[in-house]
Subunit: 345 residues, 2 copies
Amino acid sequence: MTDIHKPAERRRLSMVDVAAHAGVSVGTVSNVLNRPELVAERTLRRVRASIKALGFVPSAPARQLRGGSGRSVGVMVRDIGNPFFSEVLPGIETRLSQEQLLLVLCSSGDSAEKEAHYLQILEQHRVPGILITPAGPDISHLVELRRRGIGMVLLDRPGADAQLCAVAVDNVRGGELAGAHLLALGHRRIAFLNGPPIVRQCADRREGLARAVRAAGLDPDEVITEVTLPALTPREGEAALERLPARKGPTALFCVNDTVALGALRGLERRGVRVPHDMAVLGYDDVEFAELLSPSLTSVRQPKHQLGQAAAELLLTDARGDVNHWHQEIVFQPELMVRASTVPQ
Amino acid sequence: MTDIHKPAERRRLSMVDVAAHAGVSVGTVSNVLNRPELVAERTLRRVRASIKALGFVPSAPARQLRGGSGRSVGVMVRDIGNPFFSEVLPGIETRLSQEQLLLVLCSSGDSAEKEAHYLQILEQHRVPGILITPAGPDISHLVELRRRGIGMVLLDRPGADAQLCAVAVDNVRGGELAGAHLLALGHRRIAFLNGPPIVRQCADRREGLARAVRAAGLDPDEVITEVTLPALTPREGEAALERLPARKGPTALFCVNDTVALGALRGLERRGVRVPHDMAVLGYDDVEFAELLSPSLTSVRQPKHQLGQAAAELLLTDARGDVNHWHQEIVFQPELMVRASTVPQ
DNA sequence: TCGTTTGGCTGAAACATTTCAACCAGTAGA
DNA sequence: TCTACTGGTTGAAATGTTTCAGCCAAACGA
């Protein structure tokens, strides 16, 4: 019962095959791959030729097994579909690909379980670092991962409270800019279409708005009507209009992001409400299309590409585990882009 | 010279430690993890307790080394920043996360080198499959990878010519829909703001447009003015306006995607050209914000979420290497969304 | 009492690398 | 002639799993 040959399942070739083909030891093949300066010119050529001839591709898992942590970092966002993230991602990718690092994209969909599950898999994969916009307010599990040696950088969320590296845009300031602008235009009843307050960004923007109101000598509770949306989608943005107070309704709408503003604008248009005449609308993020909406949308701009790049940069130093690196926070300043949705033109 | 202890660099713990702690062999620990039904209840509990107590996390690389191919698939897009992809990605992620697969995101930026480089790394990682929108027209290298056992599915690009699995939207049909619509509105001079013709989608849409023109009994060379953009960005879309013929200029603008259309609309607005009165504008992809642009943009809709999901699905079967699976192509049909940028309302 | 079966567990091989101590053939210096 | 060094190379250990043949003790049947 000698099985003559089963060509179907031939073994994947390894360095052993290359070594045999080139007539050297596996150690030498490894050196050719990783420290060619140790290898004599002649041998180098011979081995490289064998590699090419056989079509050998080294195995990353085996490499990693020996060498410790791997060459792919995790990037966890709350929702890939959000245009905000798709504008941040290129910045991250650019920097990572320079370092030959793979980007493992995870989307928690704001679910703590899904986030935890992804984190577990990432830890199993021995990633050197993770870039994350946490789903919930509690980030102790992230601190724990950091303690176990995984580089950790919070994206778009301050991390001072937990001694974690973080890259963020000053959301309080952003909310303040928005609020000050609306107040300056004379608005005294402002609806804030916000996400769940456990999301840090949402809470911060709200805080900024309130601060602007107080700075104007007014009472936030009287000026601001907050509507909490279950999800930050255009659909919910539009639906939220139904929940605005009927009498003594707001004259301005501050939306926690442009996606929501998109829906709100659509809803207002359908109802025949003129923007900004009957209702001013203000967004957040200044995504690419904000300027081209009808009417063009006033929005708080965040330096998204830079944000991504800085985050990746910080992760690199954190993952390297430099001793003299402790805990760093980079905060960008937002900028208000005034357009037709608040100021008639 | 006995080194008493160096607590600083304690080894990462492995199944050996768990085994010792629980007083069993490593083989049993492995069984607890992978085939618990083979293990006695008592032992099961004891080992699980040890795992928890020590905080053991199994090593994916070691697993993979033994087991063959890994549990992360590659997704290569041409440009992460493109909203088209960010609407396709969620569909992919949804399906993959159901299968506990990680999504490794690669962006070729339309560079064949970068694509090749990423592919090489993915092969080293022994990914079971790759989902790809190829950067160039030549896909022989992909066929080769497929031959070497890596599942391969073309995304948004037909693959019949190379016997590869593919998921696509019928781009010729889409171009045809767009052309027919513009012709029906009476336009006889149409500018086509296109990407480089080596990109398959661009070539196909152009072909569809030409087909519509011929179907109307007209000469494509007379009706269509093609402008080739170096990149499909809003900036280039706007810049392209400069290159339109001055006299006997076009009365309609067909943009190869909505991002370009965005730029074109902005440019036209700045120049005081009224849309659709002086110039009709038509986009492609029907991204989320198309409906809300000023004016709302007529566009060719693609079922993006479905596209992503179908692609992931197909990849799963291809990567599984089912024998009775040969080569499958799923083609979705596009749909024309008529709005104010072509039809005055 | 003696085989036979069976559930549960063990020990070792296999996986594809990297790294490192040791070795070897020359060459140079004493 | 012996020793020391040097650039190259080798062989083996180590990395953390999975798998599988085999072992042991208990239960069972005759």
